[in-house]
């Protein structure tokens, strides 16, 4: 396991990193957990419930026992269970707050039964539903963290509303799960490679990259990119791929991470590839320094996401490299 010195953040993996490995014939969840343990990619283990657990949001007791046993045998610590609020699961209307509460409450109970101390929800889960879930979270002793993922930043109105809620309620059972994608310094090579492979002309990817790098809030850049890409002859599906470049890669200054505190319950160590011990697209030294200054001792889940663009790299090896990089940076004096 990649243990860190006392008083520092702890490391771990989310099985989301192994999205492609999960699909290999003959692979199952228990086998993946064993392999994570055997390769020492803990101690923390996170998973996406709807990705890994057959039958979710109903939790099969036999599966629950098998998962708990496998984690224990592998020497892994359950860190966070990613759950979802599927607000638009009914055609034509969104779930009401009552329905949203019920949809998440059953998942919160499932997380507790599996031994996870934290669940992750998305920012579509607003203050009203979180407030209603708080008593159950307290009863189950499971913290609810709202993931702040690119293109969201602290200044986005939904995030500001959450910060106000957490401050006002002054509770340890609700908080943030910041994701490193909020603060990126370059577009990952995996993304530009995938654009090229998909036949997107390099001048279009170059245009999107230049607009991405300009100062100013990301939300204001979408219209500009769509207009200028269309003028260069981009098709609608290509414009969709280009705007994803703005959506997935946030531009928040690393020092702003301090403002998530003291409400951080878990961290997503998003990355798209570690090369020679460094992450070219995310300023890990700067953000990890903030986590250290804030005396954060929770988990950072290594979340390899380049599998969305390429299967050229081994995700297990990438996670190992990411954890070595984080450990080195965290323990540097």
């Amino acid at each position: 396991m990649t243990d860190t010195a006392a008083g520092l953040p702890r490391l771990g993996i989310t099985l989301f990193s192994l999205t492609l490995e999960q699909r290999r014939p003959g692979t199952d969840l228990i086998g993946l957990i064993r392999e994570v343990g055997a390769r020492g990619l803990g101690p923390g283990l996170e998973m996406v419930a709807f990705q890994s657990l057959r039958g979710w949001p109903r939790l099969d007791e036999t599966l629950a026992q098998a998962v708990r046993g496998a984690l224990d045998d592998a020497g892994l610590t359950p860190s966070c269970l990613a759950i979802n609020l599927d607000l638009a699961l009914r055609p034509g209307r969104l779930l009401s707050d009552d329905e949203a509460h019920d949809y998440l409450a059953v998942q919160l109970r499932g997380a507790a039964a599996l031994g996870f101390p934290v669940v992750r929800v998305g920012a579509e889960c607003g203050p009203a539903v979180l407030t209603r879930l708080l008593p159950l979270a307290e009863e189950l002793r499971v913290r609810i963290g709202v993931e702040i993922h690119s293109p969201l930043t602290l200044d986005a109105p939904p995030v500001a509303a959450l910060k106000e809620l957490f401050t006002r309620l002054d509770t340890e059972w609700l908080g943030f799960i910041p994701d490193f994608s909020a603060s990126m310094r370059a577009i990952p090579g995996a993304v530009t490679d995938a654009h090229r492979a998909a036949g997107i002309p390099p001048e279009l990817t170059g245009l999107a990259t230049r607009i991405w790098a300009e100062p100013g809030p990301t939300m204001a850049k979408f219209g500009d990119l769509e207009r200028r890409a269309a003028a260069l002859g981009a098709r609608p599906d290509q414009i969709g791929n280009l705007t994803m470049l703005l959506t997935m890669h946030g531009r928040m200054r690393p020092d702003r991470w301090a403002d998530f505190f003291p409400h951080v319950v878990h961290v997503h160590g998003k990355f798209y590839g570690v090369t020679d011990g460094q992450d070219p697209s995310i300023d890990y030294p700067a953000v990890l320094a903030v986590l250290r200054e804030q005396k954060y001792t929770g988990f950072i889940s290594s979340e390899y996401e380049a599998h969305a663009y390429t299967d050229r790299h081994d995700a297990f090896d990438q996670v190992a490299a990411h954890q070595r990089m984080c450990k080195t940076l965290l323990e540097a004096r």
């Binding site: 699909r23 890994s52 599927d86 638009a88 699961l89 492979a197």
Partner: protein, 128 residues
């Protein structure tokens, strides 16, 4: 445009059955979604559009029935089986799969993201 899109129709996707062909479709989304979120499932076989029956979770249904299945999920490693007319041999299968992502809401009117994946493959129907 990612690796999961390349696996929507795999090399062994088409099999021969007593009453036609089965086409195995794998999801390009990383997590299980409610069956009601399979909002586009446009299939042509050798150029002819087909509205297939669908088997998932061991139950065969018409295409139209999926829209009401809000409490049943398409798991990440399970194929959705499309039942179409046809016989053994090579077939060109074109598939336009559209998934409504129920937790990613976009725009001022908060519509779910539509994630589309298109496949166009010529595959040999095998006997199981």
């Amino acid at each position: 445009m990612g690796p999961l899109d390349d696996q929507v129709l795999r090399d062994d996707a088409v099999t021969v059955t007593p009453d036609g062909l089965d086409i195995a479709v794998h999801t390009h989304w990383y997590r299980a979604l409610p069956l009601s979120c399979v909002v586009r499932l446009d299939v042509t076989v050798d150029g002819t559009p087909v509205v297939p029956d669908v088997t998932v979770n061991g139950v065969r249904r018409t295409r139209a029935e999926l829209a009401d299945l809000t409490g049943e999920y398409w798991f990440t490693t399970d194929p959705l089986i499309l039942h179409v007319p046809g016989t053994a041999g090579e077939h060109r299968v074109e598939l336009d799969l559209g998934l409504s992502i129920p937790y990613i809401l976009t725009g001022p009117d908060r519509r779910p993201l539509l994630s589309a994946s298109r496949a166009d493959r010529t595959l040999t129907a095998r006997r199981p």
